[in-house]
């Protein structure tokens, strides 16, 4: 149950990145606040509730984990709030709890992010705990061992989950020689190889002012924020270590991999090369994907697979825009007896979209959804701060949010047709099926187990 919900939530996150203004006049007033140290933040003041949310991001994530130590960034993300400065793990956690400050970190493939949410009357303490976590994490052996054990236990618990298996196998099959093929969460063995000095090394290399973005939203003024930026981030090194991640291209195009698992429902993950975020065709691809499988109940795949035939509870596709490769991916789960039929439908819809693109009406509906739903992303301080950080990580300007919808609206039917043809090719789909599918012929074996 948990796994299914999580997979869907993840999909939604990938599907709906960042968009701008809605049909009604909607504007987010963003100030750029720069401290004396040169650290800059985007700030949206909102004094409606006594709450402040902060989202930060550093470029560089799990894809930079050294060979044999996959999961390093992930381990850092769970250990930064397990003791820092003079506060050991329990003391740090108790301080957070006493002040009701929410602090968390997350390691993505290409970025490392953090969030802070606090009542505004204790925001100085909150920023101070963030500073400690970033600049003086302790990585005490006891805490390292405890959190490593938790991460390993989670991996073991997921080892037989069909959805998790499908993800691991798809990425290993598609990127056998690139860090993108390794799980960001590592393996039991690779987590076991990570020592406190590795964690300190990650912090020293990645956490730097030239590598940092900050978004702040809520009950705080620019004048109040400015000194906090210096106090919190001013002590970080000026520059991050150079990081080189090679370009990536998925291999095994067209392969079908079956991982036998004794479950009544097969999980199917499929995908092939897509477009990167800075591709001029990104917005057209985004709209095309929405019509094909991104748009929930309005998508073609949902209509064909779920509504008409009752083959699945959910089917979705999404654009996955990593720094070094763009992908279009999708997932569906159906009873073993109907996997072949479902896959045929996916491929047929893939082809139909490639050949003819969306209809004028589908294009119009996709655009009004994608533009009209944008304000919903600004309905809490935390979600707004997250958008501010994400936009900066992409390297977009401060006017991006105001312009975002115009990029969607500019997609023409010709653009959509051309990009659908460029984007989609059913023959190139790499398909991973986990379960006991009937009528599916594997063309390749699963890659060697990664030790989870």
């Amino acid at each position: 149950m948990g796994a299914a919900v999580r997979a869907l939530a993840l999909t939604a996150g990938l599907l709906t990145p960042l968009f701008a203004t809605a049909p009604p006049a909607f504007a987010v007033e963003i100030q750029r606040v720069v401290g004396a140290s040169g650290v800059a933040a985007w700030l949206v003041e909102d004094h409606g509730n006594p709450i402040v949310s902060v989202a930060i991001g550093f470029h560089g994530g799990a894809a930079l984990d050294p060979a044999g130590k996959a999961g390093l960034a992930e381990m850092v993300s769970v250990l930064l709030d397990e003791g820092a400065g003079d506060l050991d793990s329990q003391a740090f956690q108790r301080r957070l709890a006493e002040l009701a400050i929410e602090l968390g970190f997350d390691a993505g493939m290409d970025e490392f992010s953090g969030t802070l949410r606090t009542l505004s009357d204790r925001r100085d303490d909150a920023f101070d705990l963030l500073r400690l976590a970033l600049t003086a994490p302790r990585f005490d052996q006891d805490a390292v061992d405890r959190l490593r054990g938790q991460l390993q236990a989670r991996l073991v618990a997921q080892a037989d989950d069909p959805g998790d298996i499908a993800g691991r196998v798809w990425w290993r099959t598609s990127f056998p020689d690139h860090p993108y093929g390794r799980p960001a969460e590592g393996t039991v063995a690779s987590l076991g190889a990570i020592a406190p000095d590795d964690l300190r090394g990650f912090v020293a290399r990645r956490f730097a002012r030239d590598n940092l973005v900050v978004g702040v939203v809520g009950d705080i003024t620019a004048a109040e924020l400015r000194p906090l930026l210096d106090r919190t981030f001013g002590a970080l090194p000026a520059a991050a270590a150079p990081a080189a991640l090679p370009e990536a291209a998925p291999e095994a195009a067209g392969a079908v991999v079956v991982v036998p698992k004794g479950v009544p429902q097969s999980v199917v993950l499929f995908g092939h090369q897509g477009v990167k975020r800075d591709d001029p065709d990104f917005y057209a691809a985004y709209v095309v994907n929405h019509v094909l499988g991104g748009g929930g109940f309005s998508s073609r795949l949902t209509h064909e697979v779920r509504e008409t035939r009752g083959l699945a509870y959910s089917i979705a596709t999404w654009l996955n825009t990593l720094d070094r490769v763009g992908l279009v991916q999708g997932q569906v789960a159906t009873q073993n007896a109907r996997v072949a039929e479902t896959l045929d439908l996916v491929r047929a819809e893939w082809r139909r979209m490639a050949e003819a693109g969306p209809t004028p009406e589908e294009l119009a509906d996709a655009k009004t959804y994608l533009t009209g739903s944008y304000p919903l992303r600004f309905s809490s301080t935390a979600s707004t701060a997250g958008v501010l950080a994400a936009v900066q990580l992409e390297g977009f300007g401060i006017d991006y949010i105001a312009r975002r919808n115009s990029y969607i609206e500019a997609v023409t039917l010709e653009d959509a047709r051309r990009v659908a043809r460029r984007l989609l090719d059913p023959a190139r789909l790499t398909v991973v099926v986990v379960g006991e599918p009937e009528g599916v012929t594997a063309t390749r074996s699963p890659p060697p187990d990664d030790g989870t």
């Binding site: 006493e98 009701a100 989950d161 979705a316 009004t368 309905s379």
Partner: protein, 447 residues
Amino acid sequence: MRRFARLRFGCAALLLFLAARPGAAAVFEPETFTLDNGMQVVVVVSHRAPVVTHMIWYRVGAADDPPGKSGIAHFLEHLMFKGTATLAPGEFSEEVARRGGNENAFTAQDYTAYFQSVAVEHLDLVMRLEADRMANLALSDAVVLPERDVVLEERRQRTDNDPGSQLAEAMRAALYRNHPYRLPVIGWAHEIAGLTTEDAIAFYRRWYAPNNAVLVVSGDVTAENVRALAEKHYGAVAARPVPARERLQEPPQLAPRRVVLESPLVQQPSWSRLYVAPSHTSGATEHAYALEVLAELLGGGPTSRLYRRLVVEDKVATSAGAYYAADALDLASFGFYGSPQSGGRAEDVEAAAEAEITRLLADGATADEVAMAKSMLQAGAAKARDSLSGPARTIGAALATGGTVADVEAWPERIGAVTLEAVNAAARAVLRPEGSVSGLLLPKPTS
């Protein structure tokens, strides 16, 4: 995605969304009124963005499924998107999506809820659509039968593919010996397979009426404009007699139960336990607020008693916690969970947790623990307005399970009033072996 059964039984996290401003009694400061047809309306104003969440709650859930037709409340929730006298199947969703709206629905034991989040100028439209399907649902086998297959796939995805979910299902069936909370919200597979269009229509006609619904609107609105729109759309739907929610009640619980699930799909063992507990509306209700504090101090996070003892100090577990949700029309449950360290046994976690429970019952909690738990719960409440749909969810869940707006608003104050003695008394009242089910999820040796 949408139209999912909310199978969660108790979750401390939910409580964090119950809420208020620090020091003040008010949480959401909602305005509430009742239409002439008996439909209650609650409005929470927030002008952060020009958007609104419109959410309707029916006071009917899976625990009201007729015998032998488990899953019908949830199945009907799916079918509510399948058209009305004037709207084609799927058109509801298309109308909302075309305007940039996000929508969803969920079913729990005590309620069924539908919501849309949209730009505020579309509130009129979503109210018209929601009022339409309150009165005019039109179903045929052509759309119902494929959707039944969808629900069976949903069940496979949530439960049949996942031994942990199967164990949770078996534990609930053992915890409640007579009350329908023993049945899964989504239903048993063989009963879902037999549900018909007629079953869905009969359930709809029995329960879906304005006088059995609560509307909660949260966002960039005023009570005046919500009232005008609600009278226009929902006011046109006539009240109908709705039966009382009479459910089979629990007999005394006399014997501890134990459920063990071994599966080749399990490599990481785990232990969990449920105790039958009072809710805000059933059983020894005077313990409900104290139980919320107890769950927080015992198992609410990394500084909680269970985590500190089992995970940090004794290193017998990699995770351990406790949870309790007081919003239930009938008896609730108080839960524990834990997973052993690598190579360890679930039984060792159970023994360590039991020792901790015994210690609590013998020595009581400390004043410091109680104070800290109360302040964490209240701070969570203070942040609850920082969300569009959160207030609507909290208020709707309370009102659908016998609570009032005043109860929601007074929550931080009532948490603040919980004493150490009350926490200890609640622990002794609820943490009794004879009212419990223990569950072990274990690897199955392959040969």
